[in-house]
């Protein structure tokens, strides 16, 4: 019998890859919201100004519509969507209330510096029913924030402004070093937007929320520079396996 028999060979370590951390964060949030009962829908990244702005009550005079904030394509016929909100319009036009759905994906702003990228990711959701109110919105937001940052996190709601919600709020969490960090925007759907989507605003009301995925991913993983997500450095990516 050969003395070699029975020797244990070293383990063969096969490398495991990784889903991009931004997509992991997105899937995490989507899964949670689908569990609550939201449907998931998709929408195009190239949008009309009508869906990206007008239908959302973002008037021609709004600063966001300037050439220095929004990418225009096809001889100004279209825009690269500046937020995922036009999907809400598409969803509302396609469905009849009560409706509850979310959407997520890439959005574009004409920015490129240390803290802003020309492309980033958002998730947002909307729920329209006969008796949706701000207190319901708070409950939903608390659940989302608790899911992301734990039940003990301190949360602050403060008034803000989005043309498509009224009242509008921004939500902050208290960081370990005592600073309030803004993590999402939300509000009661502006009745003008409901009417734009042929929904009777005297009968129905809605809540809506949106969050920037990079922001959440940076906080969760402890990534300080947003640009690290898009350098495609394997040493970076492999940490998320």
């Amino acid at each position: 019998m050969s003395p070699m028999k029975g020797i244990k060979l070293p383990k063969i370590n096969r490398s495991i890859g990784a889903i991009h951390p931004i997509n992991q964060t997105k899937e995490f949030i989507v899964d949670f919201l689908v569990e609550i009962g939201f449907d998931y829908i998709d929408g195009p990244e190239i949008e009309t100004e009508n869906f990206n702005f007008d239908m959302l009550n973002i008037k021609k005079s709004h600063p966001a519509r300037q050439m220095h904030d929004t990418f225009y394509v096809n001889k100004k016929e279209n825009v690269l969507r500046t937020h995922t909100s036009p999907v809400q319009i598409r969803g509302m036009l396609d469905r009849k209330p009560p409706l509850d759905f979310i959407s997520g994906g890439k959005v574009y702003r004409k920015d490129d510096d240390a803290t802003h990228l020309p492309m980033f990711h958002q998730i947002e959701g909307i729920s329209v029913n006969t008796d949706i109110n701000f207190a319901n919105l708070k409950d939903l937001i608390f659940r989302i924030v608790h899911k992301l940052f734990g039940n003990k996190i301190e949360i602050r709601f403060r008034p803000s402004y989005f043309p498509f919600t009224e009242p509008s709020a921004e939500v902050d969490i208290l960081s370990e070093d005592g600073k309030w960090l803004e993590i999402l925007g939300c509000g009661i759907v502006n009745p003008i937007v409901l009417e734009n989507c042929k929904i009777d605003s005297t009968k129905y009301s809605g809540l809506a929320f949106g969050l920037g995925i990079e922001r959440i991913a940076m906080l969760k993983y402890g990534v300080n520079d947003i640009r690290d997500f898009y350098k495609s450095n394997l040493d970076f990516l492999k940490q998320f396996k």
């Binding site: 070293p10 063969i12 370590n13 931004i22 992991q24 220095h68 990418f71 659940r143 992301l148 940490q239």
Partner: protein, 644 residues
Amino acid sequence: MKIFYKHIVDHINDKPDKRYLSEKLFQLGHEHEIDGEIFDFELTPNRGDCLSTMGLLRDLNLFYEVNSIKPIFSKDIEHFDYKFSNKAQDACPKISFLKIDIETIPDIYNEELESYFLNLNLKKNNFFTDISNYISYETGQPTHCYKAEEVENGLTLDFLDKKQQFKTLFDTKIQIDPGNLVFLNHKNDLVNFAGIVGGKSSACDLDTKTVIVECAYFNPEVILGKATKYSINSDAAHKFERNVDLNSHEYVLRRFLQVVEQHTKILNVQLYSNTYKQSPQTVIDFDLDRIINIIGKNIEEKDCIAYLQRLGFVIKQKLIYVPSYRNDIANINDIAEEIARAIGYDNIEPKKFIIDKPKIKSHDDAVSQKNSIENRFKNLLIDNGFCEVINDPFTFQNIKSSIEVDNPLDSNRKFLRTNLKNSLLDNLLYNERRQQDSIKLFEISDVYSGKSNMSKKLLGIIISGRVDKNYIDFNKKLNKKYLVDILNKFIYRADDLNYEVISRDGINSRTTSTITYVEIELDANTKINYVSNDNENKIFDLNIKYTPISNYPLSVRDLSFSIKDFSKCELLDNYLTSIDNDLLKEVFIFDHYLNEKNNEIKIGYRFVFQSKETTITERDVNKIINPIIEYSKSMSGVTIPGFE
């Protein structure tokens, strides 16, 4: 917008401290940072009415006894028979001009005016301009001061008909495009870029004793974006863009005069004022039930009325009359927000949100199918060591159907990509330059092309270098066959896909390994034959904590161990793979050979070193590797050829 703490708190009876005032301002929605005694605000764009001490105090009146009444010039003012022609009445529905003649220019300012410049660290210009800036800070209404002699023979407001050069009062020259709103003097010289910046030629100077003060309302649409476009830092434009109070002119100009009179003797004052279009009074039904339904909290009618009254609203016979400075209030939801702010968003108790309806399929079928294929591809690739990347779509490459960006960031990002190859090739080369020798990347993205913005979902896969970092795969090269073998597990006829070996000609790289690329269109028709354990949804927990990566070069050392006492293999491996050193990035077996004739095992270990702070030196590496060599050698039956 910077506001000095004292300029606010002096008007509040309770004198709240900074922390408490800050809390209340946040409750109102007025985001700010505090630097010493200065509150630096970033107000939401709908609240142009709060861009002043007076505006903030109007809001703070919800919580405090505010006393913001300031003395105004109360004498009668003569009519100013001014030759003003308004050829843009829609853009400017109201305008006033005040002509003031003073006896002397004061050497020092009173405490109020001086405090504005001193505490906010602002530069003084000249007497009238200084007052104009202060009045804007106090009331939110910008005014513009012309040297009277330059414009007293008449002024016209009109849209510019042809491009014209303009020297601003900051001494910079700009070319104003036709269509912009400007003021022209009687000689038709451009003297003021309306609402944005005044001209050098008509600006006041240190000797100006006769001034014409312009106080206007411009439609925000007319001003919007222009300061940014012409790179002018304009406080006036910032305010006009966010809307000012159409009905404030008389108060503002009388405040202006009061401050002048506090400093010098006014010899003569005349007022021209013209309203071309009245601002409509906004009236909203006072519907308490609606307000309660929107907020989701019971509110007493008397409290609701009190909140609104404290904010300047008038309530009469179930109607709410909105004050003229609140251009942002149009419907009952806006009113509900006012009430919610007054209560405090944080004081509204959450109420259970439930989605209660028959569960329909969460995606429509096509989307669901597509996502499922996408997720399965991802899992297959991850299991084989691939990393997912995400790239932006901007490229310099223009094919016939490329969609062109009208306002690109730069000429290298003028088009939208129609494939994923070039992004992935960039990613691959980036990693090669960082000494990665086994690169397996993929990206899944929608791409758009053509007149109708056709979209398709693509999966791009790119590989180069070693198959993996273990002794079986270390010397195998990533190539087409490798990809086919993996994809065959998953899709029908994977060998028929279009695999491309990307040439390194023209690519500046020292690496020579083959780059292979394949692109697959994912749609509901993509035929898959791989029904694994159907673990199609990976569960993410987001609990990974990222460690910053190094940008310094690697240093590699290989050691070949010869082992005759086979029981030592595991001991050696345990030792080598558990060395904890910040500079040692990884250790792995790259070669393993059993020599039956000599009764010997040879194991090759690779040690990869990298520092986070600097380029690692031979000495640094030796300091770590030498003790490893010594320790290994001390094991009986283990030798390291070359190190006996």
